[in-house]
Every structure is written in C-alpha cells, then in structure tokens.
C-alpha cells in the first residue's frame, strides 16, 4: 500500500511528537507503538523507522513486534471496515470460506486495505450473535448468515449506496 506524501509527513511528525521526552529504554517500545497506532489508526513503515532510530534498535525488530501482535495494523483502515467473526460458531459454519470470499472479491488479504481505501478486512473473535453464524460486521452493522453470494450482494449494495450518495450530492450542487 502506497502512502501519500502528506500521510508520510503526518506519520513522521506524529511519531516524533510521541517520541519526544520518552526515554530510550526498550521497555517503552510497545507503549510508544500503541500511541502511534491510536493517533494514526495504523503504524506505517516510516513511523517504525523513526521509533527504531529513537530506541537505537534495528528497524526489523520493531517490524517483528508489530507483526507479532494482532493489535497493530500495518495499513490505514479503510472507509468501510469489514470484520469477519472467527468465533467458534462462525468458524464451524465456515467463516474461513467467507474470509476467502471477501479476500477474493476485494483482492486483499486479511489485515490489508484496498487500493482505493474503500474497504479493509479484519478477523475478529466472537461478536456475540452466534445464532446468526457466520457473521460479518461491516462498520457497526451486523450481517448474519453470510454466504459467498451474500458477500457479492453486500458489496453490490455498498456500490449502489455510493452511487446514490454521489448522485444526491450532484443533485444538491446542481440545485444551488
């Protein structure tokens, strides 16, 4: 995923701000990374390099920590966040098939964001509505009894919504 120049600058500045005044002992590494993630929503490579330089450790060590913990994202979250439930019930009802369907349709892997930043894909543990398994949560909206065809349907409805929104906006502008 390519970051824009602006995003890179913001990431570097935010990271430097967080790092200022923090001691360079390695124990602060994860808290710092968490703060970067809180501010930016993800931890881009430039931020990792800044952090590595501050703690005087190889950049690959920071990358190792980031990839070790699920809580860290490497890519900016998409406009629509798709969360596939991987709880026991959903798993038994074929959540991995649903995951594959999303990956195929969005052409990304879990943890990534589409090139147009519209969708990001995540696996989550139980979302608490096992009777509807397999479940996919898109933003805050819960979708139960998902099938691969339903994935296509959901994506289609999002495209439709987007078109309608654009049309409505266009209409407003014309009205003015």
């Amino acid at each position: 995923m390519k970051l824009t120049a602006e995003e890179t600058i913001v990431a570097v500045e935010t990271t430097r701000e967080i790092l200022s005044g923090i001691h360079d002992s390695r124990g602060s590494l994860i808290p710092v990374l968490q703060r970067v993630q809180n501010k930016l929503g993800y931890v881009p490579p430039v931020a990792m390099q800044e952090v590595a330089a501050h703690f005087n450790i190889p950049a690959v060590d920071v990358y190792g920590v980031i990839t070790f913990y699920n809580q860290f994202r490497l890519t900016p979250p998409g406009k629509n966040q798709v969360k596939i439930c991987m709880g026991t019930a959903c798993h038994m009802r074929g959540a991995n098939i649903i995951q594959e369907a999303w990956e195929r349709r969005l052409k990304i892997k879990v943890g990534e964001t589409t090139e147009d930043r519209e969708f990001s894909l995540e696996r989550v543990a139980c979302v608490g509505c096992c009777t509807m398994a397999p479940v996919v949560v898109i933003n805050e909206e819960v979708n139960g009894k998902i099938t691969p065809t339903r994935v296509d349907g959901l994506l289609f409805s999002y495209e439709l919504d987007k078109k309608n929104e654009a049309a409505a906006k266009g209409g407003e502008n014309n009205g003015q």
Partner: protein, 213 residues
C-alpha cells in the same frame, strides 16, 4: 579461564573449565549432542531448538545442555529413554515443517538435520505428523545469497550473524506457524539494504540460507 572441574559424561571423566556450557564441553570431547540454535561465542543462547537435552543426575527431568553450566562432580547422560523421546518429538516437529529436498539442497552432506538424524537414528521424513509446507517464495534477489524460508528451522543463527556483521537486516517476524526470518517490511533481500556479506549463509545450519553458486 577459571578453575578446572571434573565431570562425568556418559561414564567418561572429563575436565572442563567451570561455568562453561555443557554442550560445548561435550562436543570438545567428541561426545555429540544434537543442537541447532546454540552458538559458542554468543553470551546468551535462545535454547529454542529443544534438541540438546541431557539427563543430569539429581535433576527430575532432562535439561538442555546449552543452558547447563558445568560444575564440579556433575554427572550427565546424553542418552536415556526420556531424552530420546524429547529429541525425537522435537526433531519430528521441525521436520514436519521443513521442505525436504536433500538431493537438490546446497546443504546436502553438511546439513545439521542430516547429522542429527544419523546420530540419533531418526528419520528425516516425519512418520506421525503431516508435512506442512510454508509455501513461501524462494528469494534470490541479493547478490550471492539464496534464501528459502521453507527450509528454515528458526534457529536464529543467521539473525545473530547479521547483527554481528553490523547490518541488522534480518529478524524474526510474525507469530506462531507464520513465524519467519524476514527483513523490514518483508522486502526481498536485494531491496533490504543487504550487503551480500553472506555471513548468514555461513551461519545457517540447514539449507535455508545458502551462497549462490
């Protein structure tokens, strides 16, 4: 070195420097103990390969020889039923996740896995476990180095060699079954700033990192 102590390994009396790690003492005296992750000149050992187990008199369970410092009157057996069971299990787990291609492997003949299999009469191909190939691409982008992550046993020797050479390009990333030796951002070695010193290939006990012919 400090003072000399006398220990017994497999009934053989050996004199060794106090505080030395048993693994190296045994190897110096031609007693082979399987090992992958340990290195003689490193201060700390990860003790992660779980292959150098030995039986120590007075200890309830086998201990790894790479973390056992030698002391006066130590009595050690390198083989026992429990040790063999532990090593066999550990070795089989390693092999279930190692792409076996000895015939075409650059490490064929000097591979530590082949040596362990021969010494302990273990099979290279796991009997009870399915083979889980990582299915990762082979990286030959750096000058002089070929990296096949599918053969990696995660001993970490290449990482330490890379750090000693002053480059710090390699490191462990991800977790669990996905754990792999990789570069920052999973870049191919050729784009990672690797100088191609091939210290990692020298350090690799198997055929995961090798020098390009």
């Amino acid at each position: 070195m400090g003072k000399q102590v006398t220990i017994t390994v497999d009934g053989k009396t050996i004199s060794a420097g106090e505080g030395e790690m048993l693994l190296w003492t045994a190897l110096d005296n031609d007693i082979y103990i399987p090992h992958l992750c340990s290195e003689r000149n490193e201060k700390e050992t990860p003790a992660s390969c779980r292959l150098c187990f030995v039986e120590v008199a007075g200890r309830p369970a086998p201990v790894p020889a790479c973390t056992l410092s030698v002391s006066e009157g130590l009595v050690v057996k390198t083989r026992s039923e429990r040790v063999d069971a532990l090593v066999a299990a550990g070795f089989e787990l390693l092999m279930s996740n190692h792409r076996l291609d000895c015939k075409n492997c650059p490490a064929n003949g000097k591979c530590e896995l082949q040596r362990i299999a021969k010494a302990r009469k273990l099979r290279l191909k796991p009997k009870n476990l399915p083979i889980l190939d990582k299915g990762l691409p082979v990286d030959d982008s750096a000058p002089g180095i070929v990296y096949d992550p599918n053969k990696c046993v995660l001993c970490g020797r290449c990482i330490r060699a890379c750090r000693r050479s002053g480059n710090s390009i390699l490191g462990f990333t991800s977790r669990g079954f996905e754990r792999v030796v990789a570069t920052f951002g999973d870049l191919p070695l050729g784009e990672s700033g690797c100088q191609g010193c091939s210290d990692c290939a020298e350090a690799c006990p198997v055929g995961a990192l090798s020098k390009q012919a």
